[in-house]
């Protein structure tokens, strides 16, 4: 007997769900292939090749969810898991107060494939290892570098989504990323500086388009300069933040609070709730008039641009903050109707086949303005230019945040001067975004992705991209990130 096809497994599961009397059900079968190479201190420390295949069945029975999943894809296991999902949903329904009602979505039948120039799994491992070894050697060429790291990560997800409503969606998605880090030692201090390609849905060209050796030389120089740099003096500074740094600021202070499930209390026990409560939509001044934050899950190459989400809802583009006013949430089919929206925004995503999808941050980006970076800096008397990611923390309603960075330069009288170290800034989200008085134009726009956004119980990692042009913020409180 030949091995059943994914479609045959799916048909088997959907039949069990349908005869159970459930009002809705779906199934995701996923085959993920990950290759991860890590270099440390001039050696290839590990190369891992992971194949992860399994399926999950989700059932809505009398307004309550049940979900079951297994890594055994067989004719015996599929109906057993479908039945288990139904049983769990029945149990949930027996104590349900408010029944889940799904926002309508047209039936979709489609196949989504990531366009690529170079299949990342076709590139010889020797070539990838050589790149990392040469990158680490370049880092160590700079005197003062004590440690080096470099890594490459590529992933292919083949997925089938089917629902009892008739949607049938096939996915063949790629993603990749690479990075390197230099750590410098000086006078019993140490400091690191990194280069990261963005995580993008492309082929191996995401690695080849980056000049790792040139970037390694740059970050090694800057690591040494950083470790010897003076520590920042605490006080108020104007900040000019680069796109990579802003990607994290946007993620934490705009992305998470705009997740509607958080605003409705679903994450109260873990990831937290949101200060952007539902009565604020349409009337709350989140930022200055320069601040336009747009969710765009249709932009090619970005992580959340997968054609459809794990509700089978088509990816969309919509406003989160328009002219400084908070206007929109990230939603799924379950929560969208709770604020009177007739359609989900398509932000329901699961971390692999073994997890139930939950509301996730979309590709939220800061819309470009009209300035150049030079103009933003020229109008700063005393400020700091910040690149990259460092320390980060934010409260459970996303008001009080604190960020570091990867590299800092003092701005004096309109000129970027020398590097600083141990820069930490903190603030309250709407006050911070209301202090924005300039965003650079589209030519400065860059995109950075996240693949380890933690949320949910059991914990899940979410993927999304945040794009931005450099932006300026006035009179932000800066402290020194070391003990007194």
């Amino acid at each position: 007997m030949s091995t059943p096809t994914w479609d045959e497994f799916a048909e088997l599961a959907l039949k069990r769900i349908t005869v159970s009397g459930a009002e809705y059900g779906d199934m995701r079968i996923q085959d993920s292939h990950t290759e991860h190479m890590e270099g440390e201190d001039r050696r290839i420390a590990s190369i891992r090749d992971v194949r992860d295949i399994g399926f999950g069945v989700r059932v809505l029975y009398h307004g309550a969810w049940g979900f079951a999943a297994s890594s055994i894809l067989s004719l015996e296991e599929v109906p057993r898991i479908a039945d288990l999902a139904v049983e769990i949903a029945r149990g949930s329904a027996s104590v349900a107060l408010e029944k889940v009602r799904l926002a309508p979505e047209p039936v979709h039948r489609d196949r989504i494939v990531t366009p690529y120039r170079i299949d990342p799994f076709s590139v010889p491992l020797e070539k990838k290892a050589d790149l990392l070894l040469n990158t680490m050697e370049t880092l160590h060429r700079q005197p003062g570098i004590a440690r080096s790291n470099a890594s490459l990560w590529v992933r292919r997800d083949k997925k089938l989504f089917v629902s009892t409503e008739g949607s049938h969606l096939e996915f063949d998605l790629l993603a990749g990323q690479g990075d390197c880090t230099a750590t410098a030692l000086y006078d019993s201090r140490f400091a690191s500086r990194s280069f990261n390609t963005p995580h993008l849905r492309k082929g191996y060209e995401v690695i080849e388009e980056a000049d790792f050796l040139r970037e390694a030389s740059r970050v090694a120089d800057q690591a040494v300069e950083k470790v010897k740099a003076p520590a920042v003096d605490a006080g108020q500074y104007d900040l000019v933040l680069d796109p990579e740094h802003l990607s994290l600021t946007i993620h934490e202070s705009c992305g998470h609070p705009s997740e509607l499930d958080r605003a409705l209390g679903y994450e109260a026990n873990y990831a937290g709730t949101s200060f952007l409560t539902t009565e604020k939509r349409g009337n709350f001044r989140y930022g200055s008039r320069y601040v336009n934050l747009v969710a765009d899950n249709t932009e090619p190459e970005t992580l959340a641009a997968t054609g459809f989400d794990d509700d089978g809802v088509q990816c969309q583009r919509w406003d989160i903050v328009r002219d400084g006013i908070f206007v929109g949430y990230c939603t799924n089919r379950e929560v969208a109707p709770k604020i009177g929206e007739s359609r989900s925004r398509g932000s329901n995503r699961a971390d692999g086949w073994e997890n139930i999808p939950i509301v996730r941050i979309a590709n939220i980006g800061l819309e470009p303005g009209s300035a150049t970076v030079e103009q933003l800096i020229a109008d700063v008397k005393r400020g700091i230019y910040i690149e990259g990611h460092g320390s980060y923390s934010i409260d459970q309603r996303r008001y009080n945040f604190q960020f570091g960075g990867d590299a800092f330069w003092l701005i004096e009288n309109g000129r970027r001067t020398h590097m600083l170290r141990d820069v930490i800034y903190h603030g309250i989200t709407p006050e911070f975004w209301n202090s924005c008085d300039g965003v650079a134009d589209r030519s400065f726009r860059r995109r950075y992705g996240f693949i380890t956004c933690g949320k949910g119980q059991p914990g899940q990692s979410g993927w999304m991209t945040h794009a931005a042009s450099p932006a300026r913020f006035r009179r932000v409180q800066v402290i020194r990130g070391e003990g007194s």
Binding site: R43, I44, S46, D49, R51, D52, G54, G66, F67, A68, A69, S70, S71, I72, R80, L84, E87, A89, G91, S92, S94, V95, A96, E98, L125, E126, A129, L133, A146, L185, S188, F190, L264, G265, Y266, E267, A268, N269, Y270, E354, N355, I356, S391, Y392, S393, I394, D395, Q396, R397, Y399, N400, Q402, I424, H426, Q457, P458, I479, G481, E482, G483
Partner: protein
């Protein structure tokens, strides 16, 4: 509710793992071959706004093969345990190893040993399905409804078959059960929290912890705002565990040797209050001790900080060999204790305090500076002003900016070690403590 999960799934047994690993060894052409197993079955019932929002059950088995030709090594994994897939996984690992650069830090698999046998497979947890979880969730929700409060939380139960084997005869297998409960009670703007983790789902003390979270939430209404600054504090066990988790994660021996550790040059020196001792206590019934590590080393009781003196680091096998460390200590069951007369409870700490901030838990703790282990984070789900031996008011949450290496230099008062777990830390036994100085750098809006 009828449940199929009581009979499902059949997890990979010791004999089956031995069969699978022998299959790999028979077919391997490498100089060294290791096989590891993680077959995990977990169910989670999640609730919010006083009703079930998520009810899930998942089983995921993964087999990982690592091979080496001399010092060239490669690793491949699969979730498909059929013979063909396992053969393919071995072939992928061998293909990687053959083209990998020689790794100067590669070491052959550890020698075979007898792993300690620990009571990790609690049948009551393994047998617990959605019915038991629903029962616990309903208990928490019921108490909150009666008080007109909102409950959000989670009940989970899991069983994991873990195995490690090598072609030199190394073989270990263990079944680990894990039950968890956590609850956030919302009383308007105020929140109260409690959590538990245990090998036995019967030891989660759901009612006791629910009532504790309710009491905190009710007491947290109408919080006042205090200015940022230095305060004496009383830290409940979860808050202590949050700070010590980062200290433990920073004990990496390779960073120590390379000079990129906050402990550089401090091995054998006093790093915290000389009455504090940190042990690994894997046989303690309330900790989540294990018999072996993922590297194939036995988990052993050990002392890491002895009366304030740093005694151990977290060694990878290469660094241990280079530094002449023969028995690599593990720290999966941390127990922190304080010499001297301890108080009975957090309430006793409060009674003995003139003025302090009482912190139930910290949230989103992250390093600010790895050189001095400066951390930041927020207080969460229960922050109060204590004056003259009593809680006088809830206060708005603070952001802190502190290093555990500084604040644990001197403890004013403490309890005996208690169970502690939060959303970002592994379970520990730690005392609740009173500290004379703690720096809160800013205040949030609630």
């Amino acid at each position: 509710m009828t449940v199929v999960s009581g009979k499902w799934p059949k997890m990979t047994t010791r004999d089956e793992f031995r069969f699978l690993s022998d299959l790999v060894f028979t077919r391997s052409s490498a100089d060294h071959t290791m096989v590891s197993l993680r077959d995990h079955h977990a169910g989670t019932t999640r609730f919010a706004n006083n009703q079930i929002i998520q009810n899930v059950d998942a089983r995921r088995g993964i087999l990982t093969v690592t091979v080496a030709f001399d010092r060239q090594h490669g690793t491949a994994s699969t979730t498909d345990f059929t013979a063909g897939s396992i053969q393919d996984t071995l072939a992928r690992a061998e293909r990687i190893a053959r083209v990998s650069p020689a790794d100067p830090e590669y070491l052959p698999p550890p020698d075979p040993c007898s792993f300690p046998i620990r009571d990790t497979a609690k049948s009551e947890t393994v047998a617990a399905g959605p019915v038991k979880r629903l029962e616990y969730a309903n208990e928490a929700i019921g108490h909150c409804r009666m008080e007109n409060l909102m409950a959000a939380g989670v009940v989970s139960s899991s069983g994991t078959a873990v195995g490690i084997a090598a072609d030199n005869g190394l073989f270990g297998y263990e079944y680990r059960a894990d039950g968890r409960f956590s609850l956030t009670v919302q009383a308007g703007d105020a929140t109260g929290w409690s959590a538990a983790a245990h090998r036995s789902i019967d030891h989660l003390k759901v009612q006791e912890r629910t009532l504790a979270a309710i009491a905190k939430a009710k007491r947290g209404r109408d919080a006042c705002e205090l200015p940022a600054g230095r305060y004496p504090v009383i830290l409940e066990p979860a808050a202590v565990a949050g700070l010590w988790t980062w200290l433990i994660w920073s004990l990496d021996a390779k960073s120590y040797v390379k000079g990129t550790s906050p402990f550089a040059g401090k091995l054998g020196q006093v790093i915290v209050d000389e009455r504090l001792t940190l042990r690994n206590d894997p046989d303690h019934t309330d900790l989540l001790g294990e018999g072996m590590t993922h590297e194939g080393l036995p988990s052993i009781p050990s002392v890491w900080i002895d009366h304030g003196v740093l005694k151990q680091l977290a060694y990878d096998r290469f660094t241990a060999k280079a530094e002449g460390v023969h028995a690599i200590p593990t720290l999966e069951a941390p127990a922190l204790s304080m010499d001297g007369l301890s108080l009975h409870s957090v309430q006793d700490l409060i009674k003995n305090t003139e003025r302090a901030i009482l912190v139930a838990n910290f949230w989103y703790i992250r390093p600010v500076n790895p050189r001095d282990l400066m951390l930041t984070g927020m207080t969460r789900d229960g922050t109060f002003l204590v004056e003259k031996g009593e809680i006088v008011s809830p206060v708005k949450n603070f952001r802190f900016h502190e290093s555990p290496l500084r604040v644990f230099q001197h403890l004013s008062a403490w309890t005996a070690p208690m169970e502690a777990v939060n959303s970002e830390t592994r379970k520990m036994l730690v005392p609740a403590v009173a500290l004379p100085h703690f720096y809160f750098s800013s205040v949030t809006r609630f």
